[in-house]
């Protein structure tokens, strides 16, 4: 084994990792379920904000949409924790799949865009025409990044090369 494989093999044999992969319904199945609920609320609530910026429900005061941001942050926190646990269960599987890096990049970009929308649009009324054009691009990009992150996340189950150190994926 290479030093990298040795490291991941050690990681896969920690108590936490073995518990996540174990038989308990409260381990992998529950963690995965929390991750999916979180996904729905993070992407869905961001989309609601993006749709408002793109012109749906124009009477909704822009600034008031910021009240939904705690939902986004709470769901994001749940997904950060559940994501770390899923990663603890199958670290080699994730880190040897380029789609995983694509997913993380898309999430980072999406969070950056959500913050941009908050700071430059929701907290910045009234906007002139030029700023509105920019705002709509930001919202559209945020929408697309979350959709891309969900797609990449779902495809992780079909694209991994290794399930664990020494156990190849079957695609």
């Amino acid at each position: 084994m290479t030093p990298t494989e040795q490291f991941f093999d050690w990681l896969e044999h920690t108590d936490l990792s073995m518990w996540v992969r174990g038989e308990s319904l409260f381990a992998f199945p529950l963690i995965l379920t929390v991750h999916t609920i979180g996904m729905g609320f993070v992407a869905g609530t961001s989309w609601a904000v993006d749709l408002r910026v793109l012109g749906v429900g124009k009477h909704v005061p822009l600034a008031a949409m910021e009240k939904f941001f705690p939902v986004i942050w709470l769901a994001l926190a749940a997904n950060f924790i559940s994501g770390i646990l899923l990663l603890a269960g199958y670290p080699y599987k994730a880190f040897t799949n380029w789609v995983f890096y694509l997913k993380l990049s898309l999430i980072a970009l999406a969070i950056y865009l959500v913050l941009k929308v908050r700071n430059e649009v929701l907290r910045h009324e009234p906007l002139n025409d030029e700023q509105w054009r920019r705002a709509k691009w930001l919202a559209a990009a945020s929408l697309a990044c979350w959709a891309g992150a969900i797609t990449a996340g779902r495809l992780l189950a079909y694209t991994f090369i290794w399930l664990r150190v020494g156990i190849p994926g079957g695609f």
Partner: protein
């Protein structure tokens, strides 16, 4: 045999599903299943992000927004629901026995029915009209809050049962 126990041989209804064009269609391409799953996930996010956000407003979050204006997002939620109904029917047609003999599937159906009856009651009773009249900062009546709470819980439970389908599969594939 009880209806939730998988028989050794496919029942008549299952043979019928397996004879449909949809069954052929979903199993024919290797990329079909991952694509449908991805669409199902996008659809559930659309539903939670619109119906869920509206429910949260009725429950008292972001009161600065009048519920009627937030309601303009609901068509996207209905779009997500339709997307998920279609992809869901397609999943079922692909591996009917994997769903019909799976307790998680029946619980999911129960919570979908709860959400359905709840939403029908909301729009057909006087509650929707009352909620629509609420201005910014207005508190929703307790009956509307109860309906919104039921909606939010039912959809999250539908999601939980859906995600757990994988872990309650029947013993074998037909």
């Amino acid at each position: 045999m009880p209806f939730w126990i998988e028989p050794d041989m496919p029942d008549a209804w299952e043979r019928w599903v397996r004879a449909t064009g949809l069954h052929e269609f979903v199993l024919h391409h290797s990329w079909m299943w991952p694509t449908l799953e991805t669409l199902h996930y996008l659809g559930l996010s659309m539903l939670l992000g619109t119906v869920g956000v509206f429910d949260l407003r009725v429950l008292g979050l972001a009161k600065g927004i009048a519920p009627a204006t937030l309601h303009k997002l609901i068509p996207f939620g209905i779009g997500g629901y339709c997307l998920n109904l279609l992809t869901g029917i397609t999943f079922f047609s692909g591996f009917p026995e994997q769903y019909a003999y799976n307790p998680s599937f029946w619980w999911k159906a129960v919570f979908m029915a709860v959400a359905g009856v709840n939403v029908a009651f909301f729009y057909l009773s006087d509650e929707f009209r009352r909620v629509k009249l609420l201005g910014p900062h207005a508190d929703a009546p307790w009956r509307a809050k109860f309906i919104a709470g039921t909606s939010l819980s039912a959809w999250v439970l539908v999601l939980i049962c859906g995600r757990l389908l994988t872990f309650f599969r029947p013993p074998f594939f037909h």
